[in-house]
Structures are given as structure tokens and as C-alpha cells.
């Protein structure tokens, strides 16, 4: 039975993940003249393509720097110092993790774009003839990234800060170290591994970013948008080689960073004194800190609130004014009464549910095999289950086309299948954590007390891994619901997801309708992440 499960899982992983990836690799070497490197030559020799590569790497590097600075600052701000409402701030800071990138991009356009509300307000207040800044190109992209991707640095550095050993800091002060010395010689080495591992995630999402460059990038070409361009013009071989190049960039950075991560990481010995947050005594400083905290909260909520408010704008009433004036339920009415408008919402719901269950269908046996069994094939399972994690969403989309276009081209299943593959690692990690925490002794104790296999599974094992299963399910559901990149590559006229419907509405100047779609996604996302939060409490 166990072997059968292994075999079926392995077969599924090979067909769904390995085969399409290898197909892409193969396709990338195919040219009109047969098997050759000429696609790669084109990528590295054509000026336009070289610019896209340079832009991609620059975007990745700057994203890491900016997000590293913001995330680390916020992590110390929230966890190293003691000030009012830090707990709430911590939770709010994690919000952008679940908000779909596309929604953020549109909110930012409404706020900071050429005719955005903030831009126009500043223009009026200062009596300017031209906007103060231009929210487009590299800087526009980076602003979006700063908002959405600081989160990896924030989460990892927060953990490191919380694990700082107070007694080591005290020992260093006791030996006469200045504050600067303490930071340089104690605190920095402690958080360095966190900085490096966050930079890997941030770099990978940075160079793989698609929503921001595609919508506000303007003339700023990057690899992901070039891939879409190549695919749209049916240069599939070129698209494939661009995917391979993007993948190689990600892997190279990961390889180098992992090497340094290993070098700087150390295991701590006895650690009984966790740091206590530093109390701020200086009144002026305290006020400054509260101000920073408040502005961070405003920054985070502004785009979300913007979406919600704009979703109530009466269609056709907001044309030249800076702020909308007439509100109503019209947009929602339209979505829920016109089947043409409702279709994308229902379609996305259906696809997200399917993707979530498919992911779980593979994640549960996958996590079980990699944590609880001893098989020689374990590294292969681990590799295949985690491979999609190293592939940008655009790469997954291209893989799907290369792998399955002959059988599934234009079929509805293509899109949920792609969602599920790209989010499989997320589900696997969630379930794996549950399995790792499940000590073998629980099952042994149950058997030892006389319980049979089915009772042991139903009453002891399942309840203990269930939170991991539910949270894996929810994570994939939430992420699939507002997914944009894969959708752009693979949607068809008969299979429009909500993100595409949102973009279409924007281009048809039906901003209110687009925002209502966005608000619906947000609503479901928040409900989902609320349940997730509950589940986390339960697992701990």
C-alpha cells in the first residue's frame, strides 16, 4: 500500500512538474535550424534583450536592498523596542503577504499614478503644474515591491531578533563594548543568516515579478514581460530560453547566498535569556516612534481602504475630479446580477477550490513520505515537490504550455492545474510542519494503550495534522483567487479569472467595477487569513 502511494505520487510529480520543465529546456534549444544555442545567443546578443536582462537584475538587486532596509528596520522597530500597540502593528505588517499583488498595483495607480488622488492632492496643495513624481518605470515598480516584498525580511529578521540572547549582549557590555560594538559584534552576526535567507526569497520574487512591470513598468522592459511578449507572438522557443535564463539567475543567486548563509550561520548553545524589548524613556523619542508606527499603519491601510472606497463609486460619475463624490452599490449589483460580470468571480472561486484540493492531494502524501518514511527516493521527492518554488509564475505558465499544449490547449483545467503546481510547495511546507511536530510517540502511546490503527489515525494523528492541512488548503485558495501572472499567460476567452476581469475593467475605464472585483477578493482573502491565524494558534 505504502509503495503504491509512493509510486503514484512519483508518477504524478514526474508528469506534472518534471516533464513540463524538461520540455521547456528542450524547446529552448530548438530553432528553425534544428538543435542549437541560437535562442540564447539572441537573448545575450540583441540590444533590447540585453537591456531587459540588465533591467531584471537591477530590479532584483534594488528590491533586495530596499526591502532589506525596510524589513530589517521594521523588525527591529517592532521587536527590539517596547512601545504601545506593537502587537497590533506586528499583525498589520504581515497583511501585505496575503493581499494579491495585482490589487496593490491598482490601488497604487489610483493613489500615486499620474492622476492618482495623492498625486493630484499634492499638485493642488503646492500649486504645481506638473506632478511631483512619476509613478512608472523602475521607481514605480520598486515602490510596489517595497510595499509587498519587505515581508520576507520582516518575518525572518523578527524571528532572529526575538531569539537574540540577552546574556550574550550583557556579557559584551560587561566586557566594555560600546553600543556600536554590541551591534557590530553581537547583533549583526545573529541576524546575518536571516538577512541572507530573506534576500534569496526577495531576489527570486523580485526578478520574477510580473504584475508591477506589466502594468506600470511602461518602457521598463524586464524578462517576465519579454516572456509574455515572446509567447504572445508565438515565439515559444525564445520564451522557453528566456524562462531558462530567468531560472538560472534565480538559482545562481540562491547558490551563492546559500554558500554565504552556511558560512555565517552558527548554532547557539544554551539560551535561556530571551531579550526583553528595550523600553524607551525619552519622551520625544517615544513620540517619534509612535509617529513612525502610525504612518506605517496608514501606509499599509491606505491602498486597502482605497480599493474598498472606490468599489462603491457610481459608474460614470468620477471623471475629472480628484476625489469621487457619488457612491452606491451599483458595481456590486452589477457583479451579482449580470451573469457576464459574475462569471469571472465564480470561475476564480471554482479554480481556487480545485487548485487547493489538488495541492493537498499531493502535499499530504508528499509531506508524509519526506518526513516520516525512510526511502532512498526521498531526495527525489523533496526536489520535485519543491521545484515549483524555484520557478517564477511566468516559468510555470510556459512549462504548462510546453508540456501540455497538445492535450490541454484551451481547456479550462489548464489554469487551475497551473495554479496548483505553482503553489504546491506552499501546501507541502504547511503540511510538513505538522508532520514534523507529530512525534511518533503519540501514535505509539495510542497503540500501547490498546487502540487499533484506525482509531489511532482518526483520534490522534489526524487531529494533530489537521491544522497544517487546513492552512495549506487555505493558503493555496487565497493565493489562487487573485492570481494574475499565470492567468495572463494561460487564460482564454471562455475561462476568465477575476484578476483578468479586473484588468479588463480598468482598461474599459470601469474603475469602480474593477475595484469591486478587488474588494471581493480582499474580503475572501481576509476571511481566509483570519481562519489561518486561528489555525496557527491551534497548532501552537
Amino acid at each position: 500500500m505504502k509503495n503504491l502511494i509512493k509510486l503514484v505520487l512519483l508518477a504524478l510529480l514526474v508528469v506534472l512538474i518534471l516533464f513540463p520543465s524538461l520540455r521547456t529546456l528542450l524547446v529552448s534549444f530548438q530553432t528553425d535550424q534544428g538543435f542549437s544555442f541560437s535562442n540564447y545567443e539572441y537573448i545575450f546578443k540583441t540590444e533590447g534583450s540585453l537591456i531587459a536582462i540588465k533591467n531584471t537584475l537591477l530590479m532584483g538587486a534594488l528590491t533586495v536592498l530596499i526591502c532589506g532596509f525596510i524589513g530589517t528596520f521594521l523588525a527591529f522597530f517592532v521587536h527590539y523596542f517596547d512601545f504601545p500597540f506593537k502587537k497590533i502593528l506586528d499583525r498589520i505588517l504581515l497583511l501585505p503577504l496575503v493581499v494579491p499583488g495585482l490589487i496593490i498595483v491598482f490601488a497604487f495607480v489610483q493613489l500615486y499614478g499620474e492622476s492618482g488622488m495623492v498625486t493630484k492632492t499634492l499638485e493642488t496643495v503646492f500649486g504645481l503644474k506638473e506632478p511631483l513624481y512619476r509613478f512608472s518605470g523602475l521607481w514605480g515598480i520598486l515602490l510596489v515591491h517595497a510595499y509587498t516584498q519587505y515581508i520576507y525580511f520582516y518575518m525572518n529578521v523578527s524571528v532572529a531578533v526575538k531569539e537574540l540572547d540577552r546574556s550574550v549582549i550583557e556579557a559584551s557590555i560587561n566586557l566594555g563594548a560600546s553600543s556600536f560594538m554590541v551591534f557590530k559584534s553581537i547583533i549583526l552576526p545573529y541576524i546575518k543568516p536571516a538577512l541572507i535567507s530573506s534576500s534569496i526569497l526577495t531576489f527570486m520574487t523580485g526578478i520574477g515579478s510580473f504584475s508591477a512591470p506589466n502594468i506600470i513598468g511602461g518602457g521598463y522592459k524586464v524578462l517576465t514581460t519579454q516572456i509574455l511578449l515572446a509567447k504572445a507572438n508565438l515565439f515559444m522557443n525564445l520564451a522557453a530560453s528566456q524562462v531558462v535564463v530567468l531560472f538560472l539567475f534565480a538559482m545562481t543567486y540562491m547558490g551563492i547566498a546559500r554558500y554565504y548563509e552556511k558560512k555565517v550561520s552558527f548554532s547557539t548553545g544554551v539560551r535561556e535569556h530571551v531579550i526583553e524589548p528595550v523600553k524607551i524613556k525619552n519622551k520625544a523619542l517615544k513620540i517619534v516612534m509612535v509617529m513612525i508606527a502610525l504612518s506605517v499603519i496608514v501606509m499599509i491601510f491606505l491602498p486597502i481602504v482605497t480599493i474598498l472606497i472606490l468599489s462603491f463609486v457610481k459608474p460614470g460619475t468620477w471623471m475629472i475630479e480628484i476625489y469621487p463624490k457619488e457612491f452606491g452599490l451599483d458595481n456590486y449589483m452589477r457583479i451579482f446580477t449580470k451573469s457576464r460580470s459574475l462569471a469571472p468571480f465564480l470561475n476564480s472561486l471554482k479554480m481556487a477550490v480545485l487548485a487547493a484540493f489538488l495541492a493537498l492531494f499531493l502535499a499530504v502524501p508528499g509531506a508524509y513520505i519526506t518526513t516520516k518514511t525512510d526511502t532512498k527516493l526521498k531526495p527525489i521527492f523533496e526536489f520535485l515537490l519543491m521545484l515549483p518554488f524555484a520557478l517564477p509564475a511566468s516559468a510555470i505558465a510556459i512549462n504548462m504550455i510546453n508540456g501540455f499544449s497538445t492535450v490541454l490547449l484551451g481547456k479550462w483545467i489548464m489554469l487551475p492545474l497551473a495554479y496548483f503546481i505553482s503553489m504546491l510547495p506552499m501546501a507541502v511546507r504547511s503540511v510538513t510542519i505538522s508532520f514534523e511536530r507529530l512525534k511518533d510517540e503519540y501514535a505509539e502511546a495510542s497503540i500501547n494503550l490498546g487502540a487499533g490503527r484506525s482509531r489511532t489515525f482518526l483520534q490522534v494523528i489526524f487531529p494533530l495534522i489537521a491544522p497544517g492541512i487546513w492552512s495549506g488548503l487555505l493558503l493555496v485558495f487565497i493565493r489562487s483567487l487573485g492570481e494574475y501572472t499565470i492567468s495572463t499567460f494561460l487564460y482564454t476567452a471562455s475561462n476568465r479569472p477575476i484578476s483578468i476581469a479586473m484588468v479588463n475593467s480598468i482598461f474599459e475605464f470601469e474603475i469602480g467595477l474593477a475595484m469591486a472585483y478587488g474588494a471581493l477578493v480582499l474580503l475572501l482573502t481576509f476571511i481566509g487569513s483570519g481562519i489561518l491565524k486561528k489555525l496557527q494558534v491551534y497548532t501552537e
Binding site: 510517540e441 505509539e444 502511546a445 494503550l449 490498546g450 487502540a451 487531529p463
Partner: protein, 329 residues
């Protein structure tokens, strides 16, 4: 529960090429508590898990009373284990944990309630029924684990280093409690530990193991005072060794007594004050002896560093060991 004795016959067990339990035979009498004592990796826990059936037995026999349970499923053995980590189900309350084994045994609701009430009183957990496991202290968790095992009235009770996660003080009081409960319930028990003091204080008999083999079986007094070999002698405490014509003999530090007109003379090289006793290291004939003395027996004898002292050695207390170790002394 039915009172049974345990007979273990010629058990062998391997992990890969590693022979972890080597031809072990052992009898545990009805109602007896036997401690398996030895350093980590000596095979004691493996032996315990073989008895529980958590590891399938490949070579040898295990009898509970007249029944050969060697190939029985663990569920059927009614040999309940108290785990080192307690293995309490984290998603169940204290009461649900305790009643789990009763539900498995299909005990009816009313009887179950009574039994749980009774056992919770016994382990002093009354009032904790609805608590979550995470809300309990280490000592309380230990009591729940004990209650969960006792309540099903097992034929055999197995302890796998149950006290190793508690602090010193609690460990001492818990081991007295376990001893009391085991004596009053008369359940035949095997108790695994690596702590010789714990083994001596709790067990009727001690089985000392090393590298998968039984070294000696005996009462606490026997294994301490009359060790069979150097391993047991070393493991059970400090000893003084004397090698003579290839024969090794030993005595414990308390077999040597200081007196004003003792037979031998030595010089104090080291003193450790331990409250009611002190442990002296004496330089004597090119070697050192370890001597434990009661402070109240010393009277006006001076035992400062460098003092000359005279002492007697109880020749009858010298034990001849089966093996010789050249590297002693």
C-alpha cells in the same frame, strides 16, 4: 489486571549491523519493580520497547505469566508504557487523555467516570480534569501520564526514563510517589533509567546493562556492595581498586575508616566537604585512595590538606571482580 510475572528468554535485537540487545534473559517476579540501568545506548530502552511490542521481536521469547506474547500485537499485550516525553495527546484535555485507554477498552461511561475520579485523586490531580496539557507543569504532566497508564489496570507497567525531564527536587519526590503507587497496586513493572541513585531508590532489583549485555542482576545493595566486574563497580559509584597477581579487587570509599591508631598511614591530598560527610583523597604507597567519612565520626581527627592520617581497611569488604583492568590505578 491479572498479576503476571515476566520471563524474557534469549532476546537478540539488531539495528542494521549494530547488535543492540545481546542474548538477554531476565525474570521479573509478580508485583516486582525491576530497574534496567545503564549508560545511553546500552540497549535498555530497546529491551523495554520489545517488551511493549513497539518494536517487533525477531529473536527470543517473552512470556507474561503462562502466555507467550512474543508475537502479539502491542495493542493486545496490556503492557502500558510511561514515555520519557510523556507522549500526552496535546489536543485532548487531562480527562480525555486519561479516559483514552478506557474508551479503547469499551468501559461504560459511568464506570469510566468513577475510575478517572479515583485515579486523579491518587495522583493528586483532582480539579485538573478540563485543563489543557500545555497548561500543566512538567510534574503535573508526569502525573497525567502516570494516571493514563494506571487507569487501564495494565498487567505490566513499563517506565522509560519517566523522570528525566524533571528538576532534581521534583524527581526525588516523584520517584517516591511512583514507588508507593507501584507497591500498593502490585503491578509487575520494568523501569528504565540511566541514573544509579534513582534505580537504587526505586527498584526491588537492578539489572545493569552495557553494550547490549546484562552485566549483573541483583538487589540495590548487592550491585553496589558486591559488583561482579569493573563496569558495574564504576557505574554504581566510586571505588578503590587493588590489582594483585592479575586479580582485581575493589572496595567502596566507606569501607575505609580513619582512626587514631590505624593500621596504615597516608597523607590528605584533597578534601571535599559534603555536609554530613567528607570525601578525602589520600596519598598512600605511590597511589591514591578515596575515603568517605562521616563528619561526626571524625571527633578530633584533623583532615586538612597535607595532614597525615592513619586508617583501617575492612578486608572482608574487599570484592574480587571477574575481570581485570590494567588501566585502573
Amino acid at each position: 489486571m491479572t498479576q503476571v510475572d515476566i520471563r524474557i528468554r534469549n532476546i537478540n535485537h539488531w539495528y542494521g549491523d549494530n547488535h543492540v540487545v545481546e542474548d538477554v534473559s531476565l525474570d521479573v517476579r509478580e508485583g516486582e519493580l525491576v530497574a534496567l540501568l545503564g549508560p545511553s545506548g546500552c540497549g535498555k530502552t530497546t529491551l523495554l520497547r520489545l517488551v511493549a511490542g513497539l518494536i517487533p521481536l525477531k529473536d527470543g521469547q517473552i512470556y507474561f505469566g503462562e502466555k507467550d506474547v512474543s508475537q502479539w500485537q502491542p495493542q493486545k499485550r496490556n503492557a502500558v508504557m510511561v514515555f520519557q516525553s510523556y507522549a500526552l495527546f496535546p489536543h485532548m484535555s487531562v480527562e480525555e487523555n486519561i479516559s483514552y485507554g478506557l474508551k479503547v477498552r469499551k468501559i461504560n461511561h459511568h464506570v469510566r467516570k468513577e475510575l478517572i475520579q479515583e485515579i486523579m485523586e491518587k495522583v493528586e490531580l483532582t480539579g485538573y480534569a478540563d485543563r489543557k496539557i500545555q497548561e500543566l507543569s512538567g510534574g503535573q504532566q508526569q502525573r497525567v501520564a502516570l494516571a493514563r497508564s494506571l487507569v487501564v489496570e495494565p498487567d505490566v507497567l513499563l517506565f522509560d526514563e519517566p523522570l528525566s525531564n524533571l528538576d532534581e527536587k521534583l524527581r526525588v519526590s516523584m520517584r517516591q510517589e511512583i514507588r508507593k503507587i507501584q507497591k500498593s497496586s502490585q503491578i509487575t513493572s520494568i523501569y528504565v533509567t540511566h541514573d544509579q541513585e534513582e534505580a537504587m531508590s526505586i527498584a526491588d532489583r537492578i539489572v545493569i546493562m552495557n553494550k547490549g549485555k546484562i552485566q549483573q542482576i541483583g538487589s540495590p545493595r548487592e550491585v553496589y556492595e558486591k559488583p561482579l566486574n569493573t563496569f558495574v563497580a564504576n557505574f554504581m559509584g566510586e571505588s578503590n581498586y587493588f590489582v594483585d597477581n592479575g586479580v582485581t579487587r575493589m572496595c567502596r570509599p566507606d569501607a575505609i575508616t580513619l582512626s587514631t591508631h590505624g593500621e596504615y598511614q597516608g597523607k590528605v591530598a584533597w578534601v571535599e566537604y559534603l555536609g554530613s560527610t567528607q570525601r578525602l583523597t589520600l596519598d598512600w604507597e605511590d597511589r591514591q585512595l578515596i575515603v568517605d567519612v562521616f563528619n561526626r565520626d571524625l571527633k578530633d581527627l584533623s583532615t586538612n590538606h597535607g595532614d597525615r592520617v592513619s586508617f583501617d581497611m575492612d578486608k572482608r569488604a574487599l570484592v574480587t571482580l571477574e575481570d581485570t583492568t590494567s588501566d585502573i590505578i
